[in-house]
C-alpha cells in the first residue's frame, strides 16, 4: 500500500497541500467554484508551525487505528480493497467527536457548517496520486510504499556513514 511520507526538511510552509486537499474534497473539484460551496470544503491535512518551519501532519492510516476502534456508529471503516486505507462515511457519522478525542495526531477534522460530521484523509480515492502530494512544489510529500521510503532513508544513511569513514 502506498502512503504519504513527509520530507520534513523540504516543507517551506506554503500550505498549497491544504488548499489542494480541500479542493479535491469539494463537490466541484475546482478552486474557483469550491470557495463558494456550502458546506465549505475542508482540508484533511495540516501544516503546523514549529519554530519557523512548517510541519505537515496527516493521517498515518494506522494498523491499530484508535479512531476506528473508538467509532461507535460504524462511520469509520477500513477499505481492504485499497490496501487498508482508514475511511470515514459521513452518512453514518453521529458527530460525537470520539475519533477526534483519540487520534494521537489530531488529524480528524470537523465539517465547518452543516451537519456535525468528522472528516479525515482518505488518500484521494479518485486520484492516482493524492492531491496534496501532487500540489507540493518542493516535493516534501512523497507517495510511496513504506519499504521504498525506508530504503531511501537507509541509502541516505549509508552515504553519510561511508563518507564519515572515508570510503
Amino acid at each position: 500500500m502506498k502512503e504519504i511520507f513527509v520530507r520534513l526538511d523540504k516543507c517551506n510552509g506554503c500550505r498549497g497541500c491544504e488548499i489542494a486537499c480541500a479542493v479535491e474534497h469539494s463537490a466541484t473539484k475546482n478552486l474557483f467554484a469550491a470557495i463558494f460551496e456550502s458546506p465549505r470544503p475542508h482540508r484533511r491535512l495540516y501544516v503546523e508551525p514549529f519554530h519557523e518551519r512548517g510541519v505537515p501532519i496527516l493521517c498515518r492510516q494506522c494498523e491499530d487505528a484508535p479512531c476506528l476502534a473508538a467509532c461507535i456508529s460504524g462511520a469509520i471503516w477500513r477499505d481492504q480493497a485499497r490496501g487498508g486505507v482508514v475511511m470515514q462515511r459521513g452518512e453514518r457519522c453521529i458527530g460525537c467527536w470520539t475519533c477526534i478525542m483519540v487520534c494521537p495526531y489530531g488529524v480528524i477534522g470537523r465539517q465547518q457548517n452543516g451537519r456535525r460530521i468528522a472528516l479525515k484523509c482518505d488518500l484521494c480515492p479518485d486520484r492516482e496520486t493524492p492531491a496534496c502530494v501532487a500540489a507540493c512544489p518542493t516535493r516534501a510529500l512523497v507517495y510511496t510504499e513504506a519499504e521504498a521510503w525506508a530504503k531511501g532513508m537507509r541509502q541516505g544513511a549509508a552515504t553519510t556513514i561511508a563518507a564519515a569513514v572515508g570510503r
Partner: protein
C-alpha cells in the same frame, strides 16, 4: 492535458520540439501545476516584511493578515498594483516616443523626421496648441513637451485623457474622484496607497486602480498619437501571417517586443542589406518578420508579415530558420535565449532597461538608429552562415493571407467613401436598422492556461454569425491573422447576413471589389485607444455617453498586467468587458462582486468573467441587446 494550440504553425513546430526534446512554455507550465491556490485567488499579501500573509479561502485558517487586512483589502491592493504595472509599461512606451519626438524636433535624431504632419497638427489642435503659424519642428517640440509634462504632477487633468473622451465620461470621472493629474504620479499613488498601512477600504483601493487605469488610457493614446506622427498613420496593407512567412533562402530577422522606435527603423533599412545577405549565400536577401506587438507596429505601417505571437514566440526559433531576434521590451520571454542555445539564432537586446541572460546587447539610441538597425541585421547575416539547413522546419502551409492597417483614420476614410459629408452615418444607420447588432473589440494576449487561439476563434465565429462588427488589436489581432480571419474570404464564410452586407458595401465603395475583412486589425495592444476613438466619435454624434452604446470588449486569453489595466479603463469607459481567464480576485468576495456587478452603477461598464467561449459570446450578445433596448432600437 488539454491541447496546447489550435494554430497550425505553432502545432507544426511543437511536433518538432517534441521529437527533438526542446522544452517550451507548455512544458514549463506543466511543471508549475498545480499552481498555488492563494496566488490564483489573489489572497496572498507580500507588501511588508512581516508577511507573507495568506487568507484561508475555506474559512478555517486566518481570515486577516498580521496587520488586520482582510481578503478583500489584500485582493484589491494586489489588483491595483497589477494595474500600476500595466500603466507603467504602456506609459513607459509612450514616454520613450515623447523623448524621440523631442529629439527629432530639436535636430538630435535625424532618423526620425515627422512623417505624418496632418496627424501632428490634428493632435496639437486637440491639445489646444494653436498650430497656425508654427513650423513643423516648433509644433513637434511643443507636442513633445506637453507629452512629457503629462507624466509629472499637473495642476489639471491629463490632457490626453480629457480631450479624447466624451464630456459625460469626464463628468463621471470627476464625480468619483478618479481623474488622474499625472501618469507617473497616478502609478506612484497606487504604490503609496497599497503599501503597508495606507488604504484598507477595498472599494476605495479599486477606485485608486481605476484612476491609474485612466492614466494608462492617456499613456496609450499618447503612444499611438506619437507613433503615428513619427512613423505614419496606418493605411490598409496586405500581407501573410504565421510561421510560414519565414524563408529558407533568406536571412530571417524577427523584431519582437512593442515599441516602433526601433522596429520601424529596421523596417525602413533592412532591404539596404539585401546584397550583403546574398553575398553570404541567402538568395532572397533579408526577410523581416514580426513577433508580438512590435510586429503589429511594422505590420500596420509597412506590411511586414507577422510570424507568431505571445505564447508561441519560442516557435520562431525552433523552426531552425530564424537568424536573429531583435527585441525591445514587454512580453519577451527570457526563455527565447534558452531556446536559441539549441540553434544558431542570435537574440539581441537593445534597450538599457531590458536585458536577457544569454542575449547579446546592441545599444540602441535614437541618435544612431539607422546604424544600430543595420548592426543588428548584420548580426543576423553572420548567424545565418551558421544555420544548419538540415534542422530547418518552416511550416510553409501555415502562412495565411491577412489584411491589416485599420487605423481610426482608415476606418473613417472608408466610411467616407460611402457618405462623404457624414462618414459615421452609415455605421450608425446600420446599427440602428439592425444590420449590425453591435461592435466587439477583441484585445489581449494568448495565455498558456488556454489552448492557444481557441477562445479567440470560437468567440469571433459566434459573434460574426450574430452580426457583431469585430475589431481587434494586439496578439488577439495576431491570432486572427494567423488563422486567415483578417480576409474578405473569412467574411464570406463566417459573417451573418447583416454584417456581410455592411462589410461588402463599404468594401465595394472603397474599391476592393469585395467585402472588408471579417475582423478589422486596428494595431498593437497599445493602440486600443484607436477603437475607443471610434466609439467616442459615435457617442458624440448620437449625443449619448459611451455606457449606452452597443459596444463590448473581450480579452479571452489575457495574460499581462497591461491587459488588466486596459480592461479596467474599458470598464470605466462604460463597456461590458469579457475576460476569459479567471483573474486573481475571487479570494475577495466583495472585490469580485464590485468588479462584476456593483461597478455598473458607477461607470456603466463591468467585467464578465467566463472561461467557456461559447457561453461568453452569448453573454456579450445579451449585453449588446440590453444596450440596444436602452437606446430604443432593441
Amino acid at each position: 492535458m488539454t491541447a496546447r494550440s489550435i494554430c497550425p504553425g505553432t502545432n507544426a513546430v511543437l511536433a518538432v520540439a517534441e521529437r527533438e526534446g526542446y522544452a517550451t512554455i507548455w512544458d514549463r507550465y506543466q511543471a508549475q501545476l498545480p499552481q498555488c491556490g492563494f496566488g490564483l485567488l489573489g489572497s496572498c499579501c507580500r507588501m511588508c516584511l512581516q508577511g507573507p500573509c495568506r487568507i484561508d479561502p475555506f474559512g478555517e485558517g486566518p481570515q486577516v493578515g498580521n496587520c488586520g487586512a482582510s481578503a478583500d483589502t489584500i485582493v484589491a491592493r494586489n489588483l491595483a498594483r497589477m494595474i500600476a504595472g500595466g500603466t507603467a509599461a504602456h506609459s513607459g512606451h509612450a514616454k520613450h516616443l515623447a523623448h524621440t519626438l523631442w529629439k527629432s524636433a530639436h535636430g538630435q535624431a535625424s532618423d526620425y523626421p515627422v512623417k505624418d504632419e496632418a496627424k501632428l497638427r490634428g493632435v496639437a489642435a486637440r491639445l489646444g496648441i494653436a498650430p497656425d503659424d508654427k513650423e513643423t519642428p516648433e509644433l513637434a517640440a511643443e507636442v513633445a513637451e506637453m507629452a512629457l509634462a503629462e507624466f509629472s504632477e499637473r495642476h489639471a487633468p491629463l490632457a490626453w485623457a480629457a480631450t479624447t473622451v466624451t464630456k459625460g465620461r469626464v463628468e463621471t470621472f470627476l464625480k468619483y474622484g478618479v481623474v488622474p493629474f499625472g501618469i507617473d504620479s497616478a502609478i506612484a499613488e497606487v504604490m503609496h496607497r497599497t503599501t503597508y498601512g495606507v488604504d484598507a477600504d477595498p472599494v476605495n483601493v479599486l477606485l485608486g486602480g481605476v484612476k491609474c487605469a485612466l492614466a494608462d488610457y492617456a499613456g496609450m493614446h499618447m503612444a499611438t498619437d506619437l507613433a503615428d506622427i513619427l512613423f505614419g498613420t496606418p493605411k490598409p496593407v496586405v500581407t501573410k501571417a504565421n510561421l510560414g512567412v519565414l524563408k529558407a533562402e533568406a536571412v530571417n530577422v524577427a523584431v519582437h517586443g512593442h515599441n516602433p522606435v526601433l522596429s520601424d527603423v529596421i523596417a525602413q533599412v533592412y532591404h539596404e542589406l539585401d546584397e550583403e545577405a546574398k553575398a553570404a549565400g541567402a538568395k532572397e536577401g533579408v526577410n523581416l518578420v514580426g513577433i508580438c506587438c512590435t510586429g503589429n507596429e511594422v505590420l500596420m505601417r509597412h506590411g511586414i508579415p507577422p510570424a507568431t505571437h505571445s505564447v508561441s514566440q519560442e516557435m520562431a526559433i525552433l523552426t531552425g530558420a530564424l537568424d536573429a531576434m531583435v527585441v525591445d521590451y514587454q512580453c519577451v520571454m527570457p526563455a527565447v535565449a534558452t531556446a536559441a542555445e539549441c540553434f544558431h539564432t542570435k537574440i539581441i537586446t537593445t534597450l538599457p532597461i531590458a536585458k536577457i541572460p544569454g542575449a547579446v546587447h546592441v545599444d540602441f539610441s535614437e541618435e544612431r538608429a539607422r546604424e544600430a538597425a543595420k548592426e543588428v541585421i548584420r548580426l543576423g547575416i553572420e548567424a545565418y552562415q551558421r544555420r544548419d539547413p538540415k534542422r530547418v522546419n518552416i511550416p510553409l502551409d501555415a502562412a495565411k493571407p491577412a489584411v491589416a492597417g485599420f487605423s481610426t483614420e482608415t476606418i473613417v476614410g472608408a466610411l467616407s467613401l460611402v457618405n462623404k459629408e457624414d462618414p459615421l452615418k452609415p455605421l450608425i444607420d446600420n446599427i440602428v436598422n439592425g444590420n449590425l447588432l453591435g461592435v466587439c473589440l477583441f484585445a489581449g494576449c494568448n495565455n498558456v492556461q488556454v489552448t492557444q487561439d481557441q477562445n479567440f476563434m470560437a468567440m469571433a465565429k459566434e459573434l460574426a454569425k450574430a452580426n457583431v462588427l469585430l475589431l481587434a488589436t494586439g496578439c488577439g489581432a495576431g491570432a486572427y491573422a494567423r488563422h486567415g480571419m483578417l480576409t474578405p474570404e473569412a467574411t464570406d464564410e463566417y459573417a451573418g447576413p447583416g454584417l456581410k452586407a455592411v462589410l461588402t458595401a463599404v468594401g465595394q465603395a472603397a474599391g476592393l471589389g469585395g467585402p472588408l475583412p471579417l475582423i478589422l486589425h486596428m494595431g498593437s495592444c497599445v493602440d486600443n485607444t484607436r477603437a475607443a476613438d471610434v466609439a467616442v466619435a459615435v457617442a458624440n454624434k448620437l449625443g449619448v455617453d459611451l455606457d449606452k452604446l452597443p459596444v463590448v470588449a473581450s480579452a479571452p486569453e489575457a495574460t499581462t498586467e497591461k491587459a488588466v489595466a486596459i480592461g479596467t479603463w474599458a470598464v470605466a469607459a462604460g463597456l461590458p468587458v469579457h475576460v476569459g481567464i479567471v483573474p486573481p480576485v475571487l479570494g475577495g468576495p466583495t472585490v469580485a462582486k464590485v468588479l462584476t456587478q456593483d461597478v455598473k452603477d458607477l461607470f456603466g461598464g463591468y467585467f464578465i468573467v467566463e472561461a467557456d467561449p461559447a457561453v461568453a459570446a452569448g453573454k456579450l450578445v445579451e449585453a449588446i441587446k440590453e444596450r440596444r433596448k436602452g437606446l430604443g432600437i432593441g
